[in-house]
Structures are given as structure tokens and as C-alpha cells.
């Protein structure tokens, strides 16, 4: 029997024929296709019962009620809480995508200490015990050197129990330097104090207003409480009640029944011009002005000096002149003034952009005066002061602490120069950079906010931070400031922790919301309240005694004992007794009346004109010839402009004419483009006195010629790869322009030039 290669061929053919008659080829083909349907690297979400949990979002100071869907202890989706008194079920994209931050790569997962140079991003994991002892040792050392006042603490808010614990800690420790990060509400709250004599949050009853005159407020892009404003937008639209004053056709201007494109920075002049017409034509509320207001007419002080009144100041602002300043025609001013005074409940609001863009005192006072002229204070659809919460237990402190508290604040707030200003973070860099010897801040606790991103002229701020020997950050995320710290004591994510959220700015009722854990703590983080209690405990003495609670939760329940039932059940508490006081009792100013002439206003010159809210053009830095354009930041609901950067979902929604391939687009009017020889998509370098940035050009007819509009919230250097390295940070291109009487930053924009890249 011979066997040759034909036999093998035959064997193979037999095998092939047989195989086709078996399941092998067919089943494999099918199973391989099924395998592609079930690739192990494509995740399969775990099934389970849906459990809905109520909480409050704290990603910005808005404080919207949320309803979180969880499955097997994992947060899935977030929606607005339908009955929450602030946002009524509406929620901004940031709140909806909060789960991305919760589970995302920008979380700080444990306490860490810096091993490389500052900002280099080299960290070493440490234990909480080590972290607490490092901070306490540093603080104890400063106290032993009698320098407790060189400790400063930065927070995003000064209301609620966490900021309170921070303030309490500083008080017990001996430092007056609790600093809230700047926003346009600084000026508004000070204006509230100057005109009404009250410290508190401003409530605008926009829902009941019939006519809203908004001086550049990005109502649709983050101003006040985003969820609340978005929820009210349909009402604004339907009732044709919104007029937007702004040089850019923003989303708010688009929604408004009238867009008044005033030159930027001339808002105060417009307010005064409107007041002029209202007073000239006797359209103001005589009852209020005659009986409950002070300084409308000329007045005589105890020394017999006669002071100019608001009424006579207004003479300097006839429509023709105001038209010249603002670029709005006379007729519009006249008609706007009449509409404002004739509507039943008119309210004028201010705070440029999402409230992050600075503004001076004149503007706030001039806008407030409009509301007073029509008597819309503590009225439905008007302005109300919401008192600050006051439920804090007493404490004792030692001598070191008392001495420390006597020292002047580092930022110059509450000083003789700026007596009515409570916080001036914008002045801190200069205070440090101009110090002759060592930095006046020896230890900085960053307990909120992200100053190295949000502060104007961030480079200078960074230089100042360089001189602070010790920086501790409590941030949940690896933000720009945390990245620059020496030690990280990460707070829980807000979906993992308890916290109270008092009345957000703009809301006209007194409300407390409860942020509470909807998922278990994911990382080795600790509630900032607990960390403070731990640090206090390790410092011992009176400081320890000032923190007698076992943990933050216990403290919170104790502090809010009266509201806790409601908080737990509904997720919020509304003060049933809160009623805006009648005019008779409303004002705690020296005159006991609403002060058109703010007698408490810091006025070094002593001139009436400087006390009254006049229009003084803010001198933006830079030489006009070299920098012929004006840069203005703008807010977008799709880009988070505050301390916490965009989660990936939000960046995904941003159009390609705002960010492309890592570049940010600045808007310019096609006319400006023609003058400077730019066309759509061109790369350019945007220069301001504070710095420069690579940008690209987007032509937008809706922007006033001569302006360059740049979105707030891009150009992050920290967080994660999903947001870092996209565009440029507009804050870094702006400069602090000190408002004379208040020290606040009045630099709403900057001179700028655009050169082809």
C-alpha cells in the first residue's frame, strides 16, 4: 500500500467536508459575532432597584434642590427637585452632570503632601493623622510665635455652617483673616448695607416683578441660582418683562423683550439717566421717597453743613448726555424710564455676567436707587434683604486669640480705608507682594473657591502665593489652587456629605437646603467640618473647647435642630415667619431710612459727589493706542466659570466656534474684524496689560464693535485631561482696578489688542 501526498490531500478534503457538517464553523461564526456584542471592555451597568434621594447641589453658590437616582448605592442621574423652593425642578447642566465629578478623574482621593516643587504635581499619599498633625503643628507653631493673625482662610461663601465653623476656628485660633472669594454680590451686599443698614443676602422677587431691568446680569448663564433663573425664563419671555442692558447679544439679551446695547462700563450712567427722567417727570414713588428715604433732597448734618441730595445729582445726567456716554439713543432712555416707573412692580438688578465679573460701588448704588425711586423695596416683585442666619453657639477664647483678632486684616477690609467692605481677596496679592520682609500670610487654608483660577491677574496672585510658606487645601478636586498647595485634606464630594445651604443670593425667601450623602464615601476623604474639629482637637485648649462636637453631623443636627425634621423630610426648610418688614421698620441706617445719600459710605474726599452714586468711568489699565480693543468676559451656561471646572459632558456641549482643538475663540464684530483684518477662524494673540493668550477669532454680529468677548471658564490647568488645556483663562488677562471707597475690584474688562498669530 502506497501512501503519497494525494492521500493527505484526501484526508484534508475529508476533514473539510466533515467540518462543514459539524456545528464548528457555524457556531463559531455566530459566537464570535455574539462576542462582539458583549466585548468585555465595553461595560455592563449593574441592574438593581432605583432609589431616589433628595439633596442640594453645591457646585456653585446657587444651591439648587436635586433628586438623585441611585442604583445599588451608585449615583446614576440627577434631576431638579420639583418642589424645591429655589429652583422648582429646574437644573443647570452642571448640576445634571455632577456624577461625572463624583466618579471622575479630578477627585483628590486621599490626604497628600507635596513632594516636588509647588505646582509641579508631585504628591505623596499620607494618612489623615499625619495630615491633621502637619496642619496643627504649623498652626501651633505660628501661635507660639504670637502670630496667629498671619493665618488666613479663603472660602467661597460666608454663610452656612461650614463657613461658620471656619470663622469660628479662626476666631478661637486668633486670626481675623476669613476671606470670601470675590463676586459681584460683594458690591450689591455693601450697597444693601449702605442704603438699608443691613448685612444680608439680596433677594430679588423676579417672579412677581412686572418689569425687570437687568444691567448685564447673565440670568440665563449662571447669575444667582441658575436653576431658578432658567425656570423663570419662560415667564420672562411670555410676559415680555425683561430688558437687558449689555453690549453683547447674550442668551439673556436674546430672551429679553428689549436688548439695550449700552457701552460696557456705562451701566451706572444709564441708571442715573433713567433716574433723571423719572425724577424730572415726577414719576417716582412720592410716598416712599418723602417718608422713608433720606438724602433725596439736600440735607443738613449735625454740624450744619448742607449736603447735596440725590435729586440734584441727577441733574448732571440728562438723557442727551447719558446717550453720549452709553451710546443709547435719547428716546430709548426716555421710554425705558417711563416703562420702568409705570410698571406695577419694576425691579432693576445688577451683577455682570454670572456674578463673577467685578463691579464697583457706584454702579450697585445707582441701580439700587432706581428700585428705591419706584418704592420697590420689600414689596412683591421688588428687592428684599434676607437677614444672615444667626444660630451660632457662644464660645470663649484665649489671650493669644484675642490679640490676634485685634490685628488688622491682611486684605485691608474693614480698615479705615475700606470700612464697609468685609472681604477683599483681590487685594491680598498686592499685600503680600508689597510686604517688605516676610509674607503677612504665613499659612493659608483654602477651604473653598479656587482663587488661583478665578482671581483677576492670576499670574500675580500666583507670585503672591509663592511667598506664603504654607498652603493647605481642602478641595474635593485637584483644582488649580490645590495643585499649588503643600498639603491636601480633601473634603467629601457634595454627593457624599452633609451640609446646609442657606438662602442663595437673589432668592427672595429665607430658605435652608440640606445637602446630604446620596452615595457612600468613595475615597479616603473627610468632611471639612470633621477635619476642622480634628485640627481644633489637636491644637487643644480653648480652641478644642470651641469645638465640643464629636463630628460635623452632630454639630449640624444640633445647630439646625429646629429645622431638622423639615430638612430631613423635604430636603429644605422655608422660614414660615419670614416677611419683608414694612418700610417703617425696614431700615437700620443712621437715618433709619433708605439712604439715597449713603451717609456711611467711605468718602475720604468728603465731597458729596463722591458719596453719591455718580458715574465715574473706570479707567481700565493699558494704553488705548497700543490696545485699541476692549476685552469683556462673558458667561455661558455650558461652561462653568467658577471654582469647579466643567465635567466632560458640559465641555461636550460647547460648540466648535467656542473651543476647537484646544483653542478658545474670542468673539468680535465683523466690523472690528475688517478693521483688524481678521476672518473667521483665524488664530490670534490676545494681549492685555495682564498677559497674553493664543485665541482664535469668531465673528459675531451680536457683539458691539470694538469689543472682544471671551468665555469665562476655559483655560484650566488642573482638574483632568478632559478640561485642562482647553483655551485660555480670561481671568488671567484681567487686572484688579481698585474701586476707591470700597477696595473692591471694579475692573470689569481690560484694554486689549489682537494680533495675528
Amino acid at each position: 500500500m502506497k501512501i503519497d501526498r494525494r492521500c493527505f490531500l484526501s484526508l484534508v478534503i475529508g476533514g473539510a467536508v466533515g467540518t462543514t457538517l459539524t456545528p464548528v464553523p457555524w457556531k463559531l461564526t455566530d459566537d464570535i459575532a455574539i462576542w462582539t456584542q458583549n466585548w468585555p471592555w465595553t461595560p455592563t451597568p449593574e441592574k438593581g432597584p432605583s432609589v431616589y434621594k433628595k439633596s442640594v447641589c453645591t457646585l456653585c453658590n446657587g444651591g439648587c434642590g436635586i433628586n438623585v437616582r441611585t442604583v445599588k448605592g451608585q449615583a446614576k442621574t440627577i434631576a431638579g427637585q420639583a418642589d424645591y423652593p429655589v429652583n422648582r425642578g429646574s437644573l443647570c447642566p452642571m448640576g445634571i452632570s455632577a456624577t461625572q465629578h463624583l466618579y471622575g478623574p479630578s477627585r483628590i482621593q486621599s490626604p497628600m503632601k507635596r513632594t516636588g516643587d509647588r505646582g509641579q504635581g508631585k504628591w505623596e499619599k499620607i494618612s489623615w493623622a499625619e495630615a491633621i498633625s502637619t496642619v496643627s503643628e504649623k498652626l501651633a507653631e505660628l501661635r507660639s510665635r504670637k502670630k496667629p493673625h498671619t493665618v488666613a482662610c479663603i472660602a467661597e461663601s460666608d454663610r452656612g455652617t461650614v463657613p461658620y465653623l471656619l470663622q469660628r476656628f479662626l476666631t478661637a485660633y486668633g486670626s481675623p483673616n476669613f476671606i470670601r472669594t470675590p463676586s459681584s454680590f460683594d458690591a450689591q451686599e455693601q450697597a444693601l448695607y449702605l442704603t438699608q443698614g443691613k448685612h444680608g443676602t439680596i433677594g430679588y422677587d423676579l417672579a412677581n416683578a412686572e418689569f425687570i431691568l437687568s444691567f448685564g446680569c447673565a440670568l440665563m448663564d449662571g447669575w444667582g441660582t441658575p436653576g431658578q433663573m432658567l425656570s423663570a425664563s419662560a415667564d420672562f419671555k411670555q410676559k415680555n418683562k425683561l430688558v437687558q442692558v449689555e453690549p453683547r447679544l447674550s442668551d439673556t439679551a436674546a430672551l429679553a423683550s428689549q436688548w439695550v446695547a449700552a457701552k460696557p462700563g456705562t451701566e451706572a450712567a444709564l441708571a442715573l439717566g433713567l433716574a433723571h427722567v423719572i425724577v424730572r417727570d415726577n414719576l417716582y414713588n412720592k410716598d416712599f421717597v418723602d417718608n422713608y428715604a433720606f438724602g433725596f433732597e439736600a440735607w443738613e448734618d449735625e454740624n450744619g453743613t448742607v449736603h447735596q441730595g440725590y435729586k440734584s445729582l441727577l441733574k448732571q445726567y440728562p438723557p442727551k448726555k447719558v446717550a453720549g456716554i452709553t451710546g443709547i439713543d435719547k428716546g430709548t432712555i426716555e421710554s425705558l424710564a417711563r416703562k420702568f416707573s409705570r410698571a406695577k412692580h419694576s425691579v432693576a438688578i445688577c451683577g455682570r455676567g454670572s456674578g463673577m465679573v467685578p463691579g464697583g460701588m457706584d454702579e450697585a448704588l445707582a441701580v439700587f436707587a432706581l428700585n428705591a425711586l419706584v418704592g420697590n423695596i420689600n414689596q412683591p416683585g421688588g428687592v428684599t434683604a434676607i437677614p444672615e442666619p444667626d444660630y451660632w453657639p457662644e464660645m470663649q477664647r484665649d489671650k493669644t486669640a484675642s490679640n490676634g483678632m485685634q490685628q488688622p486684616r491682611v486684605d485691608g477690609a474693614e480698615s479705615d480705608r475700606f470700612p464697609n467692605t468685609r472681604y477683599l481677596l483681590n487685594r491680598v496679592p498686592e499685600a503680600i507682594n508689597s510686604a517688605k520682609d516676610e509674607s503677612p500670610i504665613q499659612a493659608l487654608l483654602v477651604a473653598g473657591g479656587n482663587p488661583l483660577y478665578t482671581m483677576a491677574d492670576t499670574e500675580t496672585a500666583k507670585k503672591a502665593f509663592d511667598k506664603i510658606p504654607f498652603i493647605a487645601s481642602f478641595s474635593t478636586y485637584m483644582d488649580e489652587t490645590a495643585q499649588y498647595a503643600d498639603i491636601l485634606l480633601p473634603n467629601h464630594h457634595f454627593l457624599e456629605r452633609y451640609e446646609d445651604v442657606p438662602t442663595p443670593a437673589g432668592t427672595p425667601t429665607r430658605v435652608i437646603g440640606l445637602t446630604r450623602p446620596v452615595v457612600e464615601t468613595r475615597h479616603d476623604t473627610r468632611h471639612i467640618g470633621d477635619t476642622l474639629i480634628n485640627i481644633a482637637g489637636s491644637l487643644g485648649g480653648f480652641i478644642e473647647n470651641a469645638f465640643p462636637w464629636g463630628n460635623y453631623e452632630e454639630f449640624l443636627k444640633q445647630t439646625l435642630a429646629g429645622q431638622w425634621d423639615s430638612l430631613e423630610k423635604q430636603g429644605y426648610w422655608v422660614d414660615p415667619e419670614f416677611m419683608p418688614p414694612a418700610w417703617e421698620e425696614a431700615f437700620q441706617t443712621p437715618s433709619g431710612k433708605y439712604e439715597f445719600y449713603p451717609s456711611q459710605r467711605s468718602n475720604p474726599s468728603g465731597k458729596d459727589a463722591d458719596a453719591l452714586p455718580g458715574f465715574r468711568q473706570v479707567e481700565l489699565p493699558g494704553v488705548q493706542e497700543k490696545m485699541p480693543l476692549t476685552l469683556m468676559p462673558y458667561a455661558s451656561a455650558r461652561i462653568a466659570g467658577g471654582a469647579v471646572a466643567n465635567p466632560p459632558f458640559m465641555t461636550k456641549t460647547v460648540d466648535a466656534d467656542v473651543i476647537r482643538d484646544g483653542d478658545v475663540f474670542v468673539e468680535i464684530n465683523p466690523k472690528t474684524a475688517k478693521e483688524h483684518d481678521f476672518s473667521e477662524g483665524d488664530a490670534a494673540v490676545l494681549k492685555t496689560p495682564a498677559g497674553k493668550a493664543r485665541v482664535r477669532i469668531h465673528l459675531f454680529e451680536g457683539l458691539m464693535p470694538g469689543l472682544v468677548a471671551m468665555p469665562v471658564g476655559l483655560g484650566h490647568a488642573a482638574f483632568s485631561d478632559y478640561i485642562a488645556g482647553k483655551g485660555a483663562n480670561v481671568n488671567a488677562l484681567l487686572t484688579d482696578v481698585t474701586d476707591p471707597g470700597s477696595g473692591l475690584n471694579a475692573g470689569w474688562g481690560s484694554r486689549a489688542s489682537l494680533v495675528k498669530a
Binding site: 500500500m1 502506497k2 501512501i3 503519497d4 494525494r6 492521500c7 493527505f8 484526501s10 484526508l11 484534508v12 478534503i13 475529508g14 476533514g15 473539510a16 467536508v17 466533515g18 467540518t19 457538517l21 459539524t22 456545528p23 464548528v24 457555524w26 457556531k27 463559531l28 459566537d31 464570535i32 455574539i34 462576542w35 456584542q37 458583549n38 468585555p40 455592563t44 451597568p45 441592574k47 432597584p49 432605583s50
Partner: protein, 212 residues
């Protein structure tokens, strides 16, 4: 390229005869048939044991003869599937018998507060939305129609997993190429769903009826 020798015809006496070639063909054929029909199915599936044994019969008797005592609908209409540890614990916080598997359950899962990683015979892939409500409440079907007599079983059978797809063998059914009986209730592949839907409702149904 070719060589000279290739061009010479091979002498006939040096060539294998026809029947030898045919035998080789048969060998190839039979070997492939055997490996394809017998060895291949065994290689394709891996066999896994359940983490602990479970006596459905006893539980059904104890719980009042109803499947939905443990496999119930939640308020929102979703089907709970396997009982969670908490549900089991409501009876089995402490041993109720001398059964070694119950002991193991209490020691390893109840005391450690760990969910039992049951292997689910009828687990559908993630792309499938199977509405138990539609079948049990809407069409008033019995559990056993699809799941067989598992409720009467005293012990859990082994679980076979397709090594390529990762799915339970119950989905495809036990016969290869869908030949032969479906063991353990019905097969759960799409064709099986469609077949029954066509028979019972007159239409195979639209894609989104069962896909997500």
C-alpha cells in the same frame, strides 16, 4: 519555479490506489465529524458550580408555593430577579436547619454581609430588555413555561458558560445547531422569543419591544 523531475509523469506503480485515497477521505471525514459534534461542544462550554447549593423545592413549600415570594415585582414594575442578601437574611439570619449549604451561606455571606454571586441560568445580555411584567401580568404566563421545573428542584444544577460569548448555555439551548430538545425549560435566544410571539400575538414584535 518548477524542476525537471516535476515534468515527468509519475509511474503508476508508485501511486496510491483509489481506495486508499478514499479511506483517507473517510478518516478525515469521520474524525472531523467526531471532533465537531462531540469534542467541540465540550470545549466550547466551561462548567461552573453555584457558590452554594439551593433547594428550590423546600423554599417554595415554605414560602407558600409562590415564586413571587422571593422573585417579585418592585413597585415601579421592575422585576427583582434574584433575592438580595437582605431578603434572604429576613429568614436566614441564623441557621434554620442542619443543611451544610445553609451553614456555608450564613458563614460566608450573611456574617460577612456579602451578596451571593449566583450564576443566573437565564441571564440575558445587556442589550435585552425583558419585561417579566408583560409576560407574567400581561400575558398571564407561568414561570415554568420558560424556566422549566426549577421550582421543583432540590439542588442547583451546574452552570455552563460559553467561553466565547460569556453567556449561559441555557440561552442557546443545549443542542448544537438548535438540534434536539431544549433542556431546562425553553431556550432564550431571540428566535425563541420571536417564535412564541409570532404564535401568540401574530407578530414577532418590533425590535425595541425587547432591546435597549
Amino acid at each position: 519555479m518548477s524542476t525537471q523531475s516535476d515534468n515527468q509523469p509519475v509511474p503508476a506503480e508508485n501511486r496510491a490506489s483509489g481506495w486508499v485515497i478514499f479511506v483517507f477521505f473517510l478518516i478525515g471525514l469521520i474524525a472531523s465529524l467526531i471532533s465537531g459534534w462531540i469534542a467541540f461542544p465540550n470545549l466550547l462550554y466551561s462548567t461552573k458550580q453555584q457558590p452554594i447549593d439551593f433547594n428550590h423545592k423546600v423554599h417554595v413549600e415554605q414560602m407558600g408555593g409562590q415564586c413571587n415570594s422571593c422573585h417579585f415585582f418592585r413597585d415601579d414594575g421592575s422585576f427583582s430577579g434574584q433575592p438580595t442578601l437582605d431578603e434572604c437574611k429576613s429568614c436566614h439570619m441564623y441557621p434554620m436547619s442542619n443543611d451544610p449549604d445553609e451553614k456555608k451561606f450564613i458563614e460566608e455571606y450573611v456574617k460577612k454581609d456579602k451578596e451571593v454571586p449566583w450564576l443566573i441560568y437565564a441571564e440575558q445580555p445587556p442589550c435585552v430588555f425583558f419585561s417579566h411584567a408583560a409576560h407574567v401580568n400581561g400575558a398571564e404566563m407561568e414561570c415554568g413555561t420558560c424556566h422549566g421545573d426549577i421550582g421543583q428542584s432540590t439542588s442547583l444544577r451546574e452552570y455552563q458558560e460559553n467561553r466565547i460569548t460569556g453567556y449561559s448555555r441555557d440561552i442557546w439551548g443545549y443542542g448544537m445547531l438548535r438540534i434536539g430538545e431544549a433542556r431546562h425549560g425553553r431556550r432564550h435566544k431571540m428566535n425563541d422569543c420571536a417564535e412564541c410571539h409570532l404564535k401568540e400575538t401574530g407578530s414577532k414584535g418590533d425590535c425595541f419591544q425587547c432591546h435597549k
